[in-house]
Amino acid sequence: MRRRLVVWLMVAVGFGLQAVTYLFLATPIGRPTDDSFSNPRIPFAPVLFILGVVLVFLAAVVYEVLPEEKHHDR
């Protein structure tokens, strides 16, 4: 149960991070009207987006590698 929770949490946080970075942390979307459209709203926002992608796929490793809790094996 705990393993599944961790996996779903990783998937949710991964996709969430991608969405939040894309929409709110990276360079603003839209027709550029001033300098603020040239830079991300927080430095290294692209790294957060990549982290989100990595986190989603890492969830598969956690799902397979993390051992089951003991009462499941019985």
Binding site: N39, P40, P46, V47, V53, V54, F57, A60, P67
Partner: protein
């Protein structure tokens, strides 16, 4: 429960003299390529044939960028085949699933190297990418989805798919036992573990398929969305990239599978059925790609604007004609061979291998023709037509990368079963 192995399968852990010689040759070529990169970093881009577009009559993207696109294209086949095996349950392709996954990983690593070669200041490029990149840009999509996301997903797929075999190899006393234990990470060959693996890899495959289509399309958009660049700006650019990626990737997979069948002991499962699947897939993709080529050509010569036509004329009868027509021939000849093979139900492996070689040479040429002529002949400003000829440094870099890729594949085949172990696969 799968039978216990008595020794490591497929010649893993053994290094015959011929293999060592092969490794030495590949290492020498790879070092020559890295020497070329060293020259590029220490003396600047002047050692390459790259020059500014327009006033200097050159191209700023040349061999490096052509090969980035080529390598990313080759990576397409691997993970597609692996996903097909899982999602469509194409059991015939199971023996090549792992080598396809390794091919994907290796091709993406080579693409990352080619990107580094193209940057005058690689370190600055990486830092600035992470610091300032715009996620809305196709360039960023190429870096995040192709290089990081796609590569990471492929590594995860390869790692999880290999755990069962790693666990079986870890039972065999060898110098690689520790490595296999690490890879297996406590895997036990139980129905519960198998079910968990099947579920995880199914969802992983589901996630990877759209990712790879988006990733390859994004690479096409890098060119296809440039409105001021005749020859690039086209709605067909992204789907053409995906198709040519399939052609070169399946062609390369045929070559790798043929080499494995010839050199790896116990690879009998790479039989006629496997190669027929690959041959048919290549034939269909070739047909579709040639259709796209004809449509694109007709559009640009029938109603194309002046500069659009200038690029097409340079391809059809100008400076790039020898490369263009060679590329076309290297697509048409294999298609004819594959069609004959299909209708006669012939079984010759040589035809397939020849087709694999030809389509890959053609894909390299086509990537070059996509990247370069638009820069030398497609500028909208009133400049004279330019030219670009790669120097020996660029040739050495690319030969070095191809050798490095072959080296990685050869070493992997001696460290880990290149095919799923019979009886141990899920």
């Amino acid at each position: 429960m799968a039978a216990r192995l008595e020794r490591l399968p497929f010649g893993v852990g053994q290094a015959p003299g011929r293999w060592k010689l092969w490794i030495a040759v590949l290492t020498a070529i790879a070092i020559l390529g890295w020497y070329g990169w060293y020259l590029e970093i220490s003396r600047g881009m002047i050692v390459t044939g790259l020059r500014d577009i327009g006033p200097m009559g050159g191209a700023t993207w040349g061999m490096d960028v052509s090969f980035i696109v080529y390598f990313v294209g080759v990576s397409f086949a691997g993970i597609t085949v692996a996903a097909l095996v899982r999602l469509a349950e194409v059991k015939a392709l199971r023996p090549i699933a792992r080598m396809a996954e390794v091919l994907t990983v290796v091709a993406l690593v080579l693409a990352a190297f080619a990107i580094m070669y193209d940057l005058g200041h690689p370190l600055r490029g990486i830092v600035n990418l992470f610091k300032y990149a715009r996620p809305q840009s196709p360039f960023f999509g190429t870096f995040t989805l192709v290089i990081s996301g796609y590569l990471f997903a492929s590594l995860v797929y390869l790692y999880l798919g290999g755990r069962a075999d790693a666990a079986r190899c870890a039972e065999v006393p060898s110098r690689l036992q520790g490595f296999y234990r690490l890879w297996a990470a406590g895997y036990r060959d139980t129905p519960a573990a198998l079910e968990r693996h099947n579920r995880a890899s199914f969802w992983l495959a589901i996630a990877i398929v759209p990712l790879l289509v988006v990733a390859h399309s994004t690479l096409g958009f890098v060119f296809g969305l440039q409105v001021g660049r005749p020859g690039w700006y086209s709605a067909l650019q992204a789907p053409s990239f995906v198709l040519l990626a399939g052609v070169s990737g399946i062609g390369m997979l045929i070559l790798v599978a043929a080499v494995v069948r010839r050199t790896v002991p116990g690879s009998d499962r790479l039989n006629e059925v496997v190669f027929r699947w690959l041959g048919n897939a290549l034939m269909i993709l070739l047909l579709a790609y040639l259709y796209f080529m004809v449509v694109e050509l007709l559009t640009s010569i029938y109603t194309g604007a002046e500069r659009e036509r200038a690029v097409t004329e340079a391809l059809l009868g100008g400076r790039y004609a020898p490369v263009y027509w060679s590329a076309v021939a290297l697509l048409v000849i294999p298609l004819s061979l594959l069609l004959m093979r299909y209708f006669r139900r012939a079984t010759g492996l040589a035809t397939l291998v020849a087709s694999g070689v030809m389509v890959n040479l053609s894909a390299m040429a086509k990537r070059f023709l996509i990247v370069v002529p638009s820069q030398t002949h497609g500028t909208l400003l009133p400049y004279q037509a330019g030219s670009y000829a790669p120097t020996w440094v660029e040739w050495a870099e690319m030969a070095g990368l191809i050798a490095f890729g072959a080296l990685l594949l050869a070493v992997f085949a001696k460290l880990f079963p290149i095919m799923p172990v019979e009886g141990g696969e899920s």
